[in-house]
Symmetry: C2
Subunit: 213 residues, 2 copies
DNA sequence: AATCGTTTGAAACTTACGTTTGCAAGGCGC
DNA sequence: GCGCCTTGCAAACGTAAGTTTCAAACGATT
Protein backbone atom coordinates (compact mmCIF):
# COMPACT_ATOMS: atom_id res chain seq x y z
CA UNK A 1 0.00 0.00 0.00
CA UNK A 2 2.28 2.71 -1.24
CA UNK A 3 1.77 6.45 -0.99
CA UNK A 4 0.16 6.80 -4.37
CA UNK A 5 -2.54 4.31 -3.56
CA UNK A 6 -3.56 6.15 -0.43
CA UNK A 7 -3.60 9.53 -2.10
CA UNK A 8 -5.64 8.30 -5.02
CA UNK A 9 -8.03 6.38 -2.83
CA UNK A 10 -8.67 9.55 -0.87
CA UNK A 11 -9.18 11.57 -4.04
CA UNK A 12 -11.56 8.98 -5.47
CA UNK A 13 -13.66 8.86 -2.34
CA UNK A 14 -13.62 12.62 -1.84
CA UNK A 15 -14.59 13.29 -5.44
CA UNK A 16 -17.61 11.02 -5.30
CA UNK A 17 -18.73 12.14 -1.85
CA UNK A 18 -18.27 15.85 -2.50
CA UNK A 19 -20.26 15.57 -5.70
CA UNK A 20 -22.98 13.66 -3.92
CA UNK A 21 -23.35 15.77 -0.79
CA UNK A 22 -21.34 18.96 -1.08
CA UNK A 23 -18.19 20.02 0.69
CA UNK A 24 -19.37 21.05 4.12
CA UNK A 25 -21.70 18.07 4.32
CA UNK A 26 -18.88 15.59 3.74
CA UNK A 27 -16.65 14.93 6.73
CA UNK A 28 -13.09 13.76 6.58
CA UNK A 29 -14.13 10.78 8.63
CA UNK A 30 -16.60 9.73 5.97
CA UNK A 31 -14.02 10.22 3.26
CA UNK A 32 -11.28 8.28 4.98
CA UNK A 33 -13.50 5.42 6.05
CA UNK A 34 -14.90 5.16 2.52
CA UNK A 35 -11.41 5.19 1.14
CA UNK A 36 -10.27 2.66 3.73
CA UNK A 37 -7.45 4.84 4.98
CA UNK A 38 -6.65 6.41 8.29
CA UNK A 39 -8.26 9.67 9.30
CA UNK A 40 -4.95 11.44 9.66
CA UNK A 41 -3.96 10.57 6.10
CA UNK A 42 -5.83 13.53 4.64
CA UNK A 43 -4.02 16.06 6.75
CA UNK A 44 -0.77 14.26 6.24
CA UNK A 45 -0.95 14.10 2.44
CA UNK A 46 -2.90 17.25 1.65
CA UNK A 47 -2.47 19.46 4.69
CA UNK A 48 -6.09 20.39 5.20
CA UNK A 49 -9.60 19.78 3.99
CA UNK A 50 -9.48 22.89 1.83
CA UNK A 51 -6.34 21.66 0.14
CA UNK A 52 -8.02 18.32 -0.47
CA UNK A 53 -10.94 20.05 -2.17
CA UNK A 54 -8.56 21.93 -4.43
CA UNK A 55 -6.65 18.73 -5.21
CA UNK A 56 -9.89 17.08 -6.29
CA UNK A 57 -10.55 19.96 -8.68
CA UNK A 58 -7.03 19.95 -9.97
CA UNK A 59 -7.13 16.26 -10.82
CA UNK A 60 -10.31 16.92 -12.76
CA UNK A 61 -9.53 20.16 -14.49
CA UNK A 62 -5.93 19.61 -15.45
CA UNK A 63 -6.46 16.96 -18.17
CA UNK A 64 -9.71 18.53 -19.31
CA UNK A 65 -8.22 21.96 -19.85
CA UNK A 66 -5.26 20.42 -21.65
CA UNK A 67 -7.61 18.56 -23.94
CA UNK A 68 -9.71 21.66 -24.63
CA UNK A 69 -6.63 23.71 -25.30
CA UNK A 70 -5.37 21.16 -27.79
CA UNK A 71 -8.68 21.01 -29.62
CA UNK A 72 -8.88 24.78 -29.78
CA UNK A 73 -5.44 24.76 -31.35
CA UNK A 74 -6.64 22.37 -34.03
CA UNK A 75 -9.76 24.43 -34.62
CA UNK A 76 -7.74 27.62 -35.00
CA UNK A 77 -5.99 26.16 -38.03
CA UNK A 78 -9.34 25.96 -39.83
CA UNK A 79 -10.68 29.42 -39.10
CA UNK A 80 -13.63 29.04 -41.44
CA UNK A 81 -14.86 26.13 -39.34
CA UNK A 82 -15.03 28.18 -36.18
CA UNK A 83 -18.65 28.75 -35.22
CA UNK A 84 -20.87 28.38 -32.21
CA UNK A 85 -21.54 24.72 -32.78
CA UNK A 86 -17.95 23.69 -33.36
CA UNK A 87 -16.87 25.63 -30.28
CA UNK A 88 -19.50 23.97 -28.14
CA UNK A 89 -18.52 20.63 -29.57
CA UNK A 90 -14.97 21.20 -28.41
CA UNK A 91 -16.27 21.24 -24.86
CA UNK A 92 -18.55 18.22 -25.03
CA UNK A 93 -16.01 16.20 -26.97
CA UNK A 94 -13.29 17.06 -24.51
CA UNK A 95 -15.37 15.83 -21.63
CA UNK A 96 -16.15 12.66 -23.50
CA UNK A 97 -12.50 12.14 -24.28
CA UNK A 98 -11.23 12.71 -20.80
CA UNK A 99 -13.81 10.61 -19.02
CA UNK A 100 -14.68 8.18 -21.72
CA UNK A 101 -18.28 7.19 -21.53
CA UNK A 102 -17.99 7.08 -17.77
CA UNK A 103 -21.06 9.18 -17.07
CA UNK A 104 -20.66 8.90 -13.33
CA UNK A 105 -17.34 10.62 -13.48
CA UNK A 106 -18.52 13.27 -15.91
CA UNK A 107 -21.62 14.15 -13.92
CA UNK A 108 -19.60 14.17 -10.74
CA UNK A 109 -17.34 16.70 -12.37
CA UNK A 110 -20.26 18.86 -13.40
CA UNK A 111 -21.78 18.68 -9.97
CA UNK A 112 -18.49 19.77 -8.48
CA UNK A 113 -18.31 22.65 -10.91
CA UNK A 114 -21.81 23.65 -9.93
CA UNK A 115 -20.92 23.40 -6.27
CA UNK A 116 -17.90 25.59 -6.79
CA UNK A 117 -20.22 28.29 -8.07
CA UNK A 118 -23.16 27.78 -5.77
CA UNK A 119 -21.55 27.06 -2.44
CA UNK A 120 -19.73 30.02 -1.11
CA UNK A 121 -16.32 28.31 -0.88
CA UNK A 122 -14.50 31.34 -2.13
CA UNK A 123 -11.18 29.55 -2.03
CA UNK A 124 -12.41 27.07 -4.63
CA UNK A 125 -13.51 29.77 -7.03
CA UNK A 126 -10.29 31.66 -6.53
CA UNK A 127 -8.26 28.52 -7.08
CA UNK A 128 -10.06 27.69 -10.31
CA UNK A 129 -9.96 31.24 -11.58
CA UNK A 130 -6.27 31.69 -10.92
CA UNK A 131 -5.36 28.29 -12.33
CA UNK A 132 -7.51 28.05 -15.43
CA UNK A 133 -8.58 31.60 -16.17
CA UNK A 134 -6.35 31.76 -19.25
CA UNK A 135 -8.13 28.85 -20.91
CA UNK A 136 -11.47 30.57 -20.47
CA UNK A 137 -10.07 33.75 -21.98
CA UNK A 138 -8.84 31.91 -25.02
CA UNK A 139 -12.21 30.32 -25.52
CA UNK A 140 -13.96 33.67 -25.25
CA UNK A 141 -11.60 35.15 -27.81
CA UNK A 142 -12.58 32.51 -30.33
CA UNK A 143 -16.27 32.78 -29.54
CA UNK A 144 -16.40 36.50 -30.19
CA UNK A 145 -16.09 36.44 -34.00
CA UNK A 146 -18.49 33.47 -34.07
CA UNK A 147 -21.20 35.77 -32.77
CA UNK A 148 -20.97 38.82 -34.98
CA UNK A 149 -23.06 41.76 -33.94
CA UNK A 150 -22.88 40.96 -30.26
CA UNK A 151 -21.43 43.58 -27.97
CA UNK A 152 -18.87 42.62 -25.37
CA UNK A 153 -21.54 42.89 -22.75
CA UNK A 154 -23.89 40.61 -24.62
CA UNK A 155 -21.10 38.17 -25.29
CA UNK A 156 -20.29 37.98 -21.62
CA UNK A 157 -23.83 37.41 -20.48
CA UNK A 158 -24.83 34.99 -23.19
CA UNK A 159 -21.74 32.93 -22.53
CA UNK A 160 -22.63 32.70 -18.88
CA UNK A 161 -26.24 31.91 -19.71
CA UNK A 162 -24.99 28.95 -21.74
CA UNK A 163 -22.51 27.98 -19.06
CA UNK A 164 -25.31 28.02 -16.54
CA UNK A 165 -27.49 25.85 -18.71
CA UNK A 166 -24.80 23.23 -19.00
CA UNK A 167 -23.67 23.29 -15.40
CA UNK A 168 -27.17 23.18 -14.00
CA UNK A 169 -28.23 20.36 -16.29
CA UNK A 170 -25.17 18.23 -15.84
CA UNK A 171 -24.82 18.81 -12.14
CA UNK A 172 -28.39 17.65 -11.61
CA UNK A 173 -28.12 15.02 -14.28
CA UNK A 174 -29.21 12.04 -12.25
CA UNK A 175 -32.04 13.84 -10.52
CA UNK A 176 -33.29 15.20 -13.83
CA UNK A 177 -33.15 11.80 -15.51
CA UNK A 178 -35.16 10.34 -12.66
CA UNK A 179 -37.73 13.12 -13.02
CA UNK A 180 -37.82 12.63 -16.79
CA UNK A 181 -38.57 8.96 -16.25
CA UNK A 182 -41.52 9.91 -14.07
CA UNK A 183 -42.89 12.60 -16.34
CA UNK A 184 -42.28 11.22 -19.80
CA UNK A 185 -41.58 7.53 -19.37
CA UNK A 186 -38.10 7.91 -20.91
CA UNK A 187 -34.87 8.54 -19.12
CA UNK A 188 -33.31 9.96 -22.23
CA UNK A 189 -30.00 8.68 -23.53
CA UNK A 190 -26.87 10.63 -22.74
CA UNK A 191 -26.38 11.40 -26.42
CA UNK A 192 -29.94 12.63 -26.75
CA UNK A 193 -29.55 15.01 -23.86
CA UNK A 194 -26.11 16.30 -24.79
CA UNK A 195 -27.24 16.92 -28.34
CA UNK A 196 -30.34 18.81 -27.28
CA UNK A 197 -28.39 20.69 -24.67
CA UNK A 198 -25.94 21.79 -27.32
CA UNK A 199 -28.75 22.85 -29.66
CA UNK A 200 -30.38 24.80 -26.87
CA UNK A 201 -27.21 26.65 -26.03
CA UNK A 202 -26.36 27.33 -29.66
CA UNK A 203 -29.85 28.65 -30.38
CA UNK A 204 -29.77 30.82 -27.29
CA UNK A 205 -26.33 32.18 -28.06
CA UNK A 206 -27.09 33.00 -31.66
CA UNK A 207 -30.65 34.21 -31.58
CA UNK A 208 -30.52 36.19 -28.40
CA UNK A 209 -27.74 38.24 -29.96
CA UNK A 210 -29.62 38.87 -33.17
CA UNK A 211 -32.88 39.72 -31.51
CA UNK A 212 -31.28 42.31 -29.30
CA UNK A 213 -28.94 43.71 -31.89
CA UNK B 1 -40.50 43.21 21.18
CA UNK B 2 -43.47 41.00 20.40
CA UNK B 3 -43.37 37.53 18.92
CA UNK B 4 -43.74 38.62 15.35
CA UNK B 5 -40.72 40.82 15.51
CA UNK B 6 -38.48 38.05 16.71
CA UNK B 7 -39.76 35.55 14.18
CA UNK B 8 -39.38 37.96 11.30
CA UNK B 9 -35.97 39.12 12.40
CA UNK B 10 -34.85 35.52 12.41
CA UNK B 11 -36.33 34.89 8.97
CA UNK B 12 -34.74 38.03 7.57
CA UNK B 13 -31.32 37.15 8.88
CA UNK B 14 -31.59 33.49 7.91
CA UNK B 15 -32.74 34.33 4.42
CA UNK B 16 -29.82 36.63 3.75
CA UNK B 17 -27.23 34.40 5.37
CA UNK B 18 -28.43 31.18 3.77
CA UNK B 19 -28.40 32.85 0.36
CA UNK B 20 -24.92 34.17 0.97
CA UNK B 21 -23.26 31.06 2.38
CA UNK B 22 -25.52 28.04 2.08
CA UNK B 23 -27.38 26.11 4.71
CA UNK B 24 -24.73 23.97 6.31
CA UNK B 25 -22.27 26.86 6.30
CA UNK B 26 -24.62 29.10 8.26
CA UNK B 27 -24.83 28.37 11.98
CA UNK B 28 -27.76 29.19 14.20
CA UNK B 29 -25.41 31.26 16.29
CA UNK B 30 -24.59 33.45 13.31
CA UNK B 31 -28.25 33.81 12.46
CA UNK B 32 -29.38 34.69 15.94
CA UNK B 33 -26.56 37.11 16.61
CA UNK B 34 -27.20 38.82 13.27
CA UNK B 35 -30.89 39.00 14.07
CA UNK B 36 -30.13 40.27 17.56
CA UNK B 37 -32.13 37.54 19.26
CA UNK B 38 -31.30 34.75 21.64
CA UNK B 39 -29.82 31.52 20.35
CA UNK B 40 -32.66 29.44 21.72
CA UNK B 41 -35.24 31.50 19.85
CA UNK B 42 -34.83 29.49 16.65
CA UNK B 43 -35.60 26.20 18.29
CA UNK B 44 -38.36 27.78 20.31
CA UNK B 45 -40.18 29.38 17.39
CA UNK B 46 -39.39 26.96 14.59
CA UNK B 47 -38.47 23.72 16.31
CA UNK B 48 -35.28 22.98 14.44
CA UNK B 49 -32.87 24.32 11.87
CA UNK B 50 -34.51 22.25 9.13
CA UNK B 51 -37.88 23.76 9.96
CA UNK B 52 -36.33 27.21 9.82
CA UNK B 53 -34.99 26.53 6.34
CA UNK B 54 -38.42 25.44 5.19
CA UNK B 55 -40.02 28.49 6.77
CA UNK B 56 -37.64 30.72 4.84
CA UNK B 57 -38.69 29.04 1.61
CA UNK B 58 -42.34 29.20 2.48
CA UNK B 59 -42.22 32.92 3.12
CA UNK B 60 -40.64 33.36 -0.27
CA UNK B 61 -42.59 30.93 -2.38
CA UNK B 62 -46.07 31.47 -1.05
CA UNK B 63 -46.68 34.98 -2.41
CA UNK B 64 -44.70 34.28 -5.57
CA UNK B 65 -46.66 31.19 -6.49
CA UNK B 66 -49.91 32.97 -5.75
CA UNK B 67 -48.87 35.79 -8.05
CA UNK B 68 -47.83 33.40 -10.82
CA UNK B 69 -51.04 31.47 -10.51
CA UNK B 70 -53.07 34.60 -10.81
CA UNK B 71 -51.19 35.78 -13.88
CA UNK B 72 -51.56 32.39 -15.52
CA UNK B 73 -55.28 32.65 -14.91
CA UNK B 74 -55.36 35.98 -16.71
CA UNK B 75 -53.28 34.63 -19.55
CA UNK B 76 -55.56 31.62 -19.99
CA UNK B 77 -58.43 33.93 -20.86
CA UNK B 78 -56.51 35.16 -23.90
CA UNK B 79 -55.41 31.82 -25.34
CA UNK B 80 -54.09 33.36 -28.55
CA UNK B 81 -51.62 35.38 -26.49
CA UNK B 82 -50.07 32.31 -24.91
CA UNK B 83 -46.58 31.80 -26.26
CA UNK B 84 -43.09 31.25 -25.00
CA UNK B 85 -42.39 34.91 -24.41
CA UNK B 86 -45.61 35.67 -22.59
CA UNK B 87 -45.15 32.61 -20.39
CA UNK B 88 -41.61 33.60 -19.52
CA UNK B 89 -42.79 37.12 -18.85
CA UNK B 90 -45.27 35.78 -16.31
CA UNK B 91 -42.32 34.53 -14.28
CA UNK B 92 -40.13 37.60 -14.47
CA UNK B 93 -43.05 39.95 -13.88
CA UNK B 94 -44.19 37.95 -10.89
CA UNK B 95 -40.78 38.20 -9.31
CA UNK B 96 -40.71 41.91 -9.97
CA UNK B 97 -44.15 42.32 -8.47
CA UNK B 98 -43.48 40.33 -5.35
CA UNK B 99 -40.12 41.85 -4.54
CA UNK B 100 -40.54 45.20 -6.17
CA UNK B 101 -37.24 46.43 -7.51
CA UNK B 102 -35.54 45.04 -4.44
CA UNK B 103 -32.82 43.18 -6.31
CA UNK B 104 -31.20 41.95 -3.13
CA UNK B 105 -34.30 40.11 -2.14
CA UNK B 106 -34.89 38.70 -5.62
CA UNK B 107 -31.34 37.47 -6.07
CA UNK B 108 -31.39 36.02 -2.58
CA UNK B 109 -34.47 34.10 -3.58
CA UNK B 110 -32.80 32.79 -6.71
CA UNK B 111 -29.73 31.79 -4.83
CA UNK B 112 -31.87 29.89 -2.38
CA UNK B 113 -33.64 28.16 -5.22
CA UNK B 114 -30.31 27.22 -6.68
CA UNK B 115 -29.12 25.95 -3.32
CA UNK B 116 -32.24 23.83 -2.99
CA UNK B 117 -31.23 22.08 -6.17
CA UNK B 118 -27.52 21.94 -5.71
CA UNK B 119 -27.06 21.17 -2.05
CA UNK B 120 -28.22 17.74 -1.17
CA UNK B 121 -30.75 18.89 1.46
CA UNK B 122 -33.37 16.40 0.34
CA UNK B 123 -35.90 17.73 2.82
CA UNK B 124 -35.88 21.11 1.09
CA UNK B 125 -36.55 19.63 -2.34
CA UNK B 126 -39.27 17.40 -0.96
CA UNK B 127 -40.86 20.31 0.85
CA UNK B 128 -40.91 22.47 -2.28
CA UNK B 129 -42.11 19.66 -4.51
CA UNK B 130 -44.94 18.66 -2.22
CA UNK B 131 -46.00 22.23 -1.58
CA UNK B 132 -45.75 23.82 -4.99
CA UNK B 133 -45.66 20.95 -7.46
CA UNK B 134 -49.14 21.73 -8.75
CA UNK B 135 -48.13 25.20 -9.85
CA UNK B 136 -45.25 23.80 -11.91
CA UNK B 137 -47.59 21.29 -13.53
CA UNK B 138 -49.97 24.03 -14.54
CA UNK B 139 -47.17 26.01 -16.08
CA UNK B 140 -45.95 23.01 -18.04
CA UNK B 141 -49.46 22.37 -19.34
CA UNK B 142 -49.60 25.86 -20.79
CA UNK B 143 -46.10 25.69 -22.22
CA UNK B 144 -46.75 22.54 -24.21
CA UNK B 145 -49.00 24.03 -26.92
CA UNK B 146 -46.68 27.03 -27.09
CA UNK B 147 -43.96 24.74 -28.41
CA UNK B 148 -45.69 22.76 -31.16
CA UNK B 149 -43.70 19.93 -32.64
CA UNK B 150 -41.80 19.21 -29.45
CA UNK B 151 -42.12 15.76 -27.98
CA UNK B 152 -42.83 15.32 -24.30
CA UNK B 153 -39.25 14.36 -23.80
CA UNK B 154 -37.97 17.45 -25.56
CA UNK B 155 -40.41 19.62 -23.67
CA UNK B 156 -39.16 18.26 -20.40
CA UNK B 157 -35.52 18.77 -21.15
CA UNK B 158 -35.79 22.15 -22.78
CA UNK B 159 -37.83 23.42 -19.87
CA UNK B 160 -35.14 22.32 -17.47
CA UNK B 161 -32.44 23.78 -19.66
CA UNK B 162 -34.22 27.11 -19.42
CA UNK B 163 -34.82 26.69 -15.72
CA UNK B 164 -31.15 26.00 -15.26
CA UNK B 165 -30.17 29.08 -17.21
CA UNK B 166 -32.31 31.28 -15.02
CA UNK B 167 -31.42 29.70 -11.70
CA UNK B 168 -27.72 29.64 -12.41
CA UNK B 169 -27.68 33.23 -13.61
CA UNK B 170 -29.79 34.67 -10.86
CA UNK B 171 -28.24 32.65 -8.08
CA UNK B 172 -24.82 33.92 -9.09
CA UNK B 173 -26.10 37.32 -9.98
CA UNK B 174 -23.79 39.38 -7.84
CA UNK B 175 -20.70 37.37 -8.69
CA UNK B 176 -21.50 37.57 -12.39
CA UNK B 177 -22.09 41.30 -12.27
CA UNK B 178 -18.74 41.75 -10.57
CA UNK B 179 -17.08 39.64 -13.26
CA UNK B 180 -18.89 41.57 -15.98
CA UNK B 181 -17.55 44.79 -14.53
CA UNK B 182 -14.02 43.43 -14.77
CA UNK B 183 -14.35 41.99 -18.26
CA UNK B 184 -16.50 44.53 -20.04
CA UNK B 185 -16.45 47.65 -17.93
CA UNK B 186 -20.22 47.51 -17.45
CA UNK B 187 -22.10 45.88 -14.64
CA UNK B 188 -25.21 45.61 -16.77
CA UNK B 189 -28.53 46.94 -15.57
CA UNK B 190 -31.02 44.52 -14.11
CA UNK B 191 -33.42 45.18 -16.95
CA UNK B 192 -30.72 44.57 -19.52
CA UNK B 193 -29.83 41.23 -18.02
CA UNK B 194 -33.37 40.04 -17.44
CA UNK B 195 -34.35 40.97 -20.98
CA UNK B 196 -31.37 39.16 -22.50
CA UNK B 197 -31.89 36.21 -20.24
CA UNK B 198 -35.47 35.96 -21.41
CA UNK B 199 -34.43 36.21 -25.05
CA UNK B 200 -31.83 33.53 -24.53
CA UNK B 201 -34.30 31.15 -22.95
CA UNK B 202 -36.98 31.83 -25.53
CA UNK B 203 -34.57 31.30 -28.40
CA UNK B 204 -33.29 28.11 -26.84
CA UNK B 205 -36.74 26.77 -26.15
CA UNK B 206 -38.05 27.50 -29.61
CA UNK B 207 -35.15 26.77 -31.87
CA UNK B 208 -33.84 23.69 -30.17
CA UNK B 209 -37.24 22.09 -30.68
CA UNK B 210 -37.40 22.96 -34.36
CA UNK B 211 -33.89 21.90 -35.12
CA UNK B 212 -34.37 18.50 -33.60
CA UNK B 213 -37.87 17.92 -34.92
C1' DA C 1 21.20 -5.75 9.40
C1' DA C 2 21.01 -0.97 10.96
C1' DT C 3 19.43 3.55 9.93
C1' DC C 4 16.74 7.25 8.56
C1' DG C 5 13.00 9.51 6.32
C1' DT C 6 8.27 8.40 5.05
C1' DT C 7 3.84 6.74 5.91
C1' DT C 8 0.25 4.68 8.83
C1' DG C 9 -2.53 4.08 13.00
C1' DA C 10 -5.15 4.95 17.29
C1' DA C 11 -6.18 8.31 20.21
C1' DA C 12 -6.69 12.73 22.01
C1' DC C 13 -7.40 17.75 21.51
C1' DT C 14 -9.93 21.94 20.41
C1' DT C 15 -13.62 24.00 18.63
C1' DA C 16 -18.10 24.68 16.89
C1' DC C 17 -22.43 23.02 16.17
C1' DG C 18 -27.73 22.05 17.15
C1' DT C 19 -30.38 21.35 20.84
C1' DT C 20 -32.11 21.34 25.65
C1' DT C 21 -32.81 23.08 30.13
C1' DG C 22 -34.23 26.02 33.97
C1' DC C 23 -35.55 30.17 35.27
C1' DA C 24 -36.85 35.12 34.92
C1' DA C 25 -39.91 38.61 32.79
C1' DG C 26 -44.10 40.06 30.80
C1' DG C 27 -48.99 40.07 29.47
C1' DC C 28 -53.81 38.64 30.49
C1' DG C 29 -58.01 36.61 32.39
C1' DC C 30 -60.18 35.65 36.78
C1' DG D 1 -53.26 40.02 43.32
C1' DC D 2 -52.68 35.52 41.78
C1' DG D 3 -52.01 31.87 38.60
C1' DC D 4 -50.98 30.80 33.76
C1' DC D 5 -49.24 30.83 29.42
C1' DT D 6 -46.02 32.85 26.23
C1' DT D 7 -41.58 34.63 25.30
C1' DG D 8 -36.69 35.74 26.30
C1' DC D 9 -32.28 34.70 28.15
C1' DA D 10 -27.88 32.51 29.86
C1' DA D 11 -25.82 28.43 30.43
C1' DA D 12 -24.94 23.83 29.69
C1' DC D 13 -25.13 19.33 27.20
C1' DG D 14 -23.88 15.94 23.86
C1' DT D 15 -22.07 15.29 19.46
C1' DA D 16 -19.36 15.66 15.47
C1' DA D 17 -16.14 18.17 13.14
C1' DG D 18 -11.00 19.35 11.61
C1' DT D 19 -6.72 18.95 13.29
C1' DT D 20 -2.65 17.35 16.00
C1' DT D 21 0.18 14.12 18.37
C1' DC D 22 3.25 10.40 18.88
C1' DA D 23 4.54 5.86 18.56
C1' DA D 24 4.63 1.91 15.47
C1' DA D 25 5.39 -0.01 10.85
C1' DC D 26 7.42 0.35 6.53
C1' DG D 27 10.94 0.93 2.68
C1' DA D 28 14.77 2.23 0.57
C1' DT D 29 19.83 3.10 1.23
C1' DT D 30 24.12 1.87 2.94
Amino acid sequence: MAQKETVERILDAAEALFAERGFAETSLRTITSTAGVNLAAVNYHFGSKKALIQAVFERFLEPLVTEIDQRLGVLEQDPENINVESLLKVLSSSIYDVHGRNTNRATAFMRLLGLAYTQSQAHVRNFIASRYGDAFQRYARLLKPALPGATDQELFWHTHFALGTAIFTMSNFDALRAMAMNDTGHRGSVDFIVSHLTSFMAAGLRNASHENA
